[in-house]
Symmetry: C2
């Protein structure tokens, strides 16, 4: 997966875009003439980096995971199919511009008497590897818009998982936008301006900020830690594993979903105060990994053992060293018919709840080409038996079909509605 | 203000700490022997940077503003003065360690049967310019701990500001900890571990994450934008303005507060959806600055005019170009007897509220040596007349006396209680 063109030259966005020539930008720079790119004045490194918007697959899936997430699920208000199609076309133009570090729309001719088309808070920040990924929920394929026959094969509402403690208002949605960037304000700006442009057509159902990358999608990224202090996603699919990516991430079904992926989301509240009172042995038994190195129990607690084989057969006394209710035991491919998922999780913290406890956790996002063979059965096992369930609350579930990447000249409206 | 020693050499924390020699760390590295610094494996730049904990003033006030904030206010539960003193001593040791990129306590001898002293999630992240700043609220100086006679002169509960819409549970507190760092997980880790160490002695009253720096405290930092899209804090005091820092930031009163500063906090919810419907002219009249450049109205809308004199006397037609209800008019030093405050504000976004609106705003922190002459009268004027009040809600108020920096061998307990 080398589908991304990065600009790490250290030149300004303005210089970068000029250097690209007109061709690459011409499709989106409406109005011509006075279009100025944001300059990344406040970028302390003097560098900016952007990710191609158009490709065989959408960006934001196998893309090297950015530091910040703002994801928003919306319900469609309008019953007018054309309004929806128009909005998706507008979103495409805006999203493509913003991923290039441009304002959401060309503002060069706007007067003081007009409401600005761009909210302005990302003006000096550059592209910051922004990706904008769109997906559609099962409910969009009801009777409203004539989409019934184009519903992807595995786009069904997620089942009820036994230990869930769902908040309905945080679940599901007709459309999702996942914005990821290396600056939180850039991700927020993208979501905010798409939501503004959808005013009257869609309304926000839920949204979630994630401030800390909690998985790695490339071998260059070290495995980050979750708020339990453990490395999270050691066995993640990395973009360089092209065969695994093809097998487990991209949908191979016929129709518009071919080359797309299912976004499966779970908001997992982590009961940090409870966790913080457990001894290290219990914490490590819950994951079946050493906290310090991430190495599986039964191996050496050293950094070079993080990716070691998990010794499922090792017995200590009369018990397996890898407990059968541990997170690793239940979710490991070896115990799931080889099934793997692409994790793209983010930590979140939202201040304190009414008990003074940190309102914090993991916003878990997985991308799967066949969720009914991978994500769903693994979640079901975890929900039934995971020792970690004592320390977490699954507060939401949602699934969305993310279409493949856009061809030149195509937009999200024409892609979905043909 | 050149009080900070930075390490930007690009070497690992381990190497850096070894290079410092034993002297600098000896006071805090309890237990000796197996102390290992966190290594900053996941720092994409390969650099880490730390800020001195001990100095004439506390770090985190005139320090170059870091990207992320986690601030927590606590109430004291215990009535035992010695428990409080002990906790403040423990906090000092932990805070000093964490600002060096070390775990909160030496874990080298801890067994699997012990609850880990450090929660572990910052293990690979380095110091990331972490500062930990402590302050004490007016309520701490009641009858409980014998502190009545050592209450600083201007440490009084903030007055009621006329347009406030306060949420009591977000106001005030006995003790505040402000943690700032260039990685959100590092700031969160610091607060979390201090709160853990204070279990039974204090309880959390409120806490707030700020994810985007919204002011600049050095001339090297460009003025960042708030969520209204405007540059915020153009007229801020910068650390290089030593005379202004002495006049307006540090307390010159007698006693333990000499060289300290008052932390004044306001949670300002910003009604983004309402703001986003105003035309550019109204938005600019509200601030009395151009959105694009930050230059005052009546000057040129170019970047080099951001710091231009504000033309208060300029008339256009029959109206002043700088409206008398604009934010700049009301808060400018020229209209406040020369009074200035040090701003250290952060943007916040916490997903969506029940209306689907972004729950977002500005967490405003000001440091003042004499808040009754600067922060309070300016806030009072703004609360009465600021055109911006239509677009914001002041949801909290709090004031804390932050003591000066710690001398070698001193801790926050001995500093406050003598």
């Amino acid at each position: 997966m080398t589908s991304e063109n990065k600009n790490k030259s250290g030149v300004s966005r303005r210089g970068f875009l000029a250097g690209m020539g007109i061709g690459a930008g011409a499709g989106v720079l409406a109005g011509g003439g006075g279009v100025a790119a944001y300059s990344a004045e406040t970028d302390s490194t003097g560098e900016d980096s952007s990710i191609s918007f158009r490709d065989a697959h959408q960006a934001g899936i196998v893309t090297a995971q950015q530091e910040h997430l703002h994801i928003v699920a919306m319900d469609v208000l309008t019953e007018d199919r054309d309004e929806l199609i128009d909005m998706l076309a507008t979103w495409t133009t805006m999203a493509e511009r913003m991923t290039q570090g441009l304002p959401a729309a060309d503002e060069s001719g706007e007067s003081d008497y007009a409401v600005p088309t761009d909210s302005g808070e990302a003006q000096d920040l550059g592209a910051k590897n922004l990706t904008v990924t769109v997906g559609y929920g099962p409910s969009l394929f009801d009777d409203r818009f004539g989409l019934k026959n184009s519903k992807p094969a595995q786009l069904n509402p997620l089942p009820t998982f036994p230990s869930d403690q769902l908040k309905d208002e945080l679940c599901d949605g007709d459309i999702v936008i996942q914005a990821c960037a290396d600056d939180p304000q850039v991700a927020v700006h993208a979501v905010r301006n798409l939501v503004r442009a959808g005013s009257g057509v869609v309304e926000v159902r839920w949204s979630q900020l994630g401030y800390g990358r909690a998985s790695s999608t490339t071998t260059e990224q070290a495995t980050p830690r979750n708020l339990f202090g453990f490395k999270d996603g050691t066995r993640n699919i990395h973009s360089s594993e092209t065969e695994a990516v093809d097998d487990f991430v991209w949908s191979d079904e016929a129709g518009w979903m071919n080359g797309g992926s299912y976004l499966c989301a779970r908001r997992i509240r982590m009961l940090l105060e409870l966790w913080d009172r457990q001894n290290l042995g219990e914490q490590q038994a819950t994951f079946a990994r050493f906290r310090k190195s991430g190495a599986p129990l039964g191996t050496e607690d050293t950094d070079d053992q993080e990716f070691a084989e998990v010794p499922f057969d090792l017995i200590y006394g009369r018990e397996p060293v890898i407990p059968e209710d541990s997170h690793v035991f239940l979710s490991h491919p070896e115990n799931n018919g080889g099934a793997r998922i692409l994790r793209r999780a983010y930590n979140f913290i939202e201040g304190s709840d009414t008990f003074g406890h940190l309102s914090a956790g993991l916003f878990f996002i997985a991308f799967a080409g066949k969720p009914e063979e991978t994500f769903i059965p693994i979640q079901m096992k975890l929900s039934r038996n995971d020792r970690m369930n004592e320390y977490v609350r699954y507060e939401s579930k949602a699934i969305f079909a993310c279409p493949p990447g856009l061809k030149e000249g195509q937009d999200w409206g024409t892609q979905l509605f043909g």
